[in-house]
Symmetry: C3
Amino acid sequence: MSDMTTVLELPRLEEQEEKKTGGMIFVVLSGDFERVFAAFTLASTAAASGIPTKMFFTFWGLFSLVKNDRGMTGKNWMQKMMSVINPGGTEKLKLSQYHFSGMGTSMMRTLAKQNGMATPQELLEAALDLGVEMIPCQMTMDVLGLTKADMIDGIAEPAGAATVVALMQENKALFI
Amino acid sequence: MSDMTTVLELPRLEEQEEKKTGGMIFVVLSGDFERVFAAFTLASTAAASGIPTKMFFTFWGLFSLVKNDRGMTGKNWMQKMMSVINPGGTEKLKLSQYHFSGMGTSMMRTLAKQNGMATPQELLEAALDLGVEMIPCQMTMDVLGLTKADMIDGIAEPAGAATVVALMQENKALFI
Amino acid sequence: MSDMTTVLELPRLEEQEEKKTGGMIFVVLSGDFERVFAAFTLASTAAASGIPTKMFFTFWGLFSLVKNDRGMTGKNWMQKMMSVINPGGTEKLKLSQYHFSGMGTSMMRTLAKQNGMATPQELLEAALDLGVEMIPCQMTMDVLGLTKADMIDGIAEPAGAATVVALMQENKALFI
């Protein structure tokens, strides 16, 4: 009987260990250049290290998944106005401070380039290539009137809070 | 002896598993509309999924637990001035950007309502109903001169950094 | 054989438990007074509780590790300009809102002092004394042209994204 118990229990130990070295999920709410940049850097590095990595994009964070060449989005005037004020795409990301009508952010991009760093767009593409699953927030899409046509290719189906909470429970979760 | 060891060890395995599917704690420092909104959404969803959920409110985050109908708070002029500049309550939450003297935040609230989303106040009440334990930061209350009478009903006793670190250690922790 | 298996497996249980009560890593991207303050408070409290604690400082967060008496830093004009706009050191930390050209932040510092709270500088020093390992981001140092001479004493060697991801995987990770 001791044998039986031991044998039955061992697989559960293995499972636990597998779960321990489980995946990561980044919940990206911010649309600030530096936070999105950090999120893409950490997520692509994690994926490159063999860690199953997911990103959930909500609120301002979702704008990073909007196509760079997408102009005005939304269905009603409020949504359209919001998209004009805060256009989507990685090329339009702004620093949270010292943006200076674009000069500060542009300077930061130049400094980054001079030091051989990847751009947010390159990091986004690298992350997708490395298999990072990018999940847009359904609720944010609805509120902003964003459709699948507005979003970049290669991302996952939109999901809601219940999905992200389940993923947070199963993975190492970071809120950015 | 083998039997003994096996029998003695099994309960520990069970315990570990219970801990693994343990609770969540959200450390809410931000007072931005979108971050508080996200925190309440995730916390109430987690609680609704049966996950024991706690929230620790500190700094700007604490203002969400101040009564909506509370006017000026604080004991000395600095604390009073701070409460006038940044009044508490979920109804006074502002977007981190594009607040536009209220127009941007109001527009976002309207868009959310049109899409059948709950307000921060409704999410707060839902979270309380679902048993989310909301812990105000003692230090922040002291600094801002906030008393128990200023805070909404149904929240937990104020606690300090040592308590929150212990809770972070025992639970899945997110900093918002 | 049952004995063997049991004996062989037990140490793994022990290891798992040790890992479970493992360390914490705070990834500090923000340079806002309140977020840096919270990070140092939580990190020093965690270290004081016997939790092995690390902090990784990147982007705006890195400025907290610049010496308070350091003037202009950087090698080229862009880096120098950035350091003038956003000088480093804990004494120059600003509130994310209501800074009011220094008056708001100064008021908050006064309120904190009146309530016997430590300053960010004192918390930083306490954290170092308690053995918190403070790791500056190599990439940020390069981009901003910061050298070892610009940074405070007692911190760890600069490291990159791969290191921080590995630390995030092994420890409880919070993004601030």
